[in-house]
Symmetry: C2
Subunit: 174 residues, 2 copies
DNA sequence: ATAGTAAGTTCCATTTTGGAACTAGTCAAC
DNA sequence: GTTGACTAGTTCCAAAATGGAACTTACTAT
């Protein structure tokens, strides 16, 4: 069976994987959830081949997980932003984080920890806040450096601009 | 960046994907969660190339997501069963199901629906039961044919032996 | 005119995957 | 006592996906 056939299986897992089930797509989306929006920035942070990134972004736009939003006219330039469909992948991302934190942390503790802005407390990654029980929404969660992030200044920088922070992806006040 | 380097990134998503982030692995695990344990049965249900399946199963065993359990001596034969680490991937699987159900159902409704045995009610796929709120464990959830499964007898058969059913993967009574 | 920035595309080598056929150990039937 | 079936693979080769580096296009700034 070839990859371009699996989206027709009567299986929600196969259909989901037909969009996000390759080496890079979920890492691209991780960056999106951290506030990254531009081609150059995705490429620099992920270190992936440029044409591969181009493919992945285009496919995500095709499937309406991201949408292209122009931010200047001359020359035409645009950003890639999460749609509602894309934002709805947050539990999948946090599910992978939770599993990786538990089983793949190399004994150092989680590289990233999360605070639920709505209730103000730290939460385990997952579908619901482990403190208040409310559903975790990407815009209401602040990722912060955890114990497993020793000596990785580059990633700390990524975190510094994540949602929920002053001076983050959006201007703090307009 | 090559694939065999990503498991060293200080990122739980990348590390999780280094185990389950390829075309087939999560589909293999889906079958595991449905009670499939033997090479031939994985191969027949998934229709994937045999040596690819062999690779994937070996990698999952290496990472202790599955373990090999002998079931006969002459000739030596064994089954692949989920470990605790593997069972802990259930929320990731159900996260993909939930997203696929919502966004990729082709207008037909979910192919599979889930009943939480512990409370006896139907639940949305996810980390917790949408009825009673308890964490969903693979062994306490029964997948059943949903509206999106029209005319797919093969998959109905897969479901018929899933956990929580009499006459399923284990003998009903010993 | 030269350099810089952003978002790609092109070319080519390497890696991964897919398909079909073949191997190995054992039992059961003819 | 040879043939066929069953289970779990492996081998060979072609096709597809990926990675790396250089090049392109459309501007702006110096």
């Amino acid at each position: 069976m070839r990859w371009d056939e699996i989206d027709n299986l009567p299986c929600s897992i196969a259909r989901s994987l037909s969009v996000v089930g390759d080496r890079w797509t979920l890492l691209v989306l991780r960056e999106s959830f951290l506030g990254v929006r531009r081609f150059e920035e995705f490429q620099q942070r992920l270190g992936m081949a440029r044409h591969r990134l181009s493919d992945r972004l285009n496919r995500l736009v095709e499937h309406e997980v991201l949408r292209k939003v122009p931010y200047q006219d001359k020359p035409p330039r645009h950003e890639y932003r999460l749609t509602e469909k894309g934002l709805d992948l947050y539990p999948v991302i946090l599910g992978l984080v939770r599993w990786g934190d538990r089983w793949m942390d190399q004994g150092r503790g989680p590289p990233v920890v999360y605070r639920h802005q709505t209730c103000g407390q730290m939460t385990r990654p997952g579908q619901n806040c482990s403190h208040c029980g409310a559903e975790l929404k990407a815009r209401e969660v602040t990722p912060m450096a955890g114990p497993g992030l020793d000596r990785h200044p580059a990633l700390k920088q990524t975190l510094a601009r994540a949602p929920g922070r002053a001076g983050g992806a959006k201007k703090a006040a307009s």
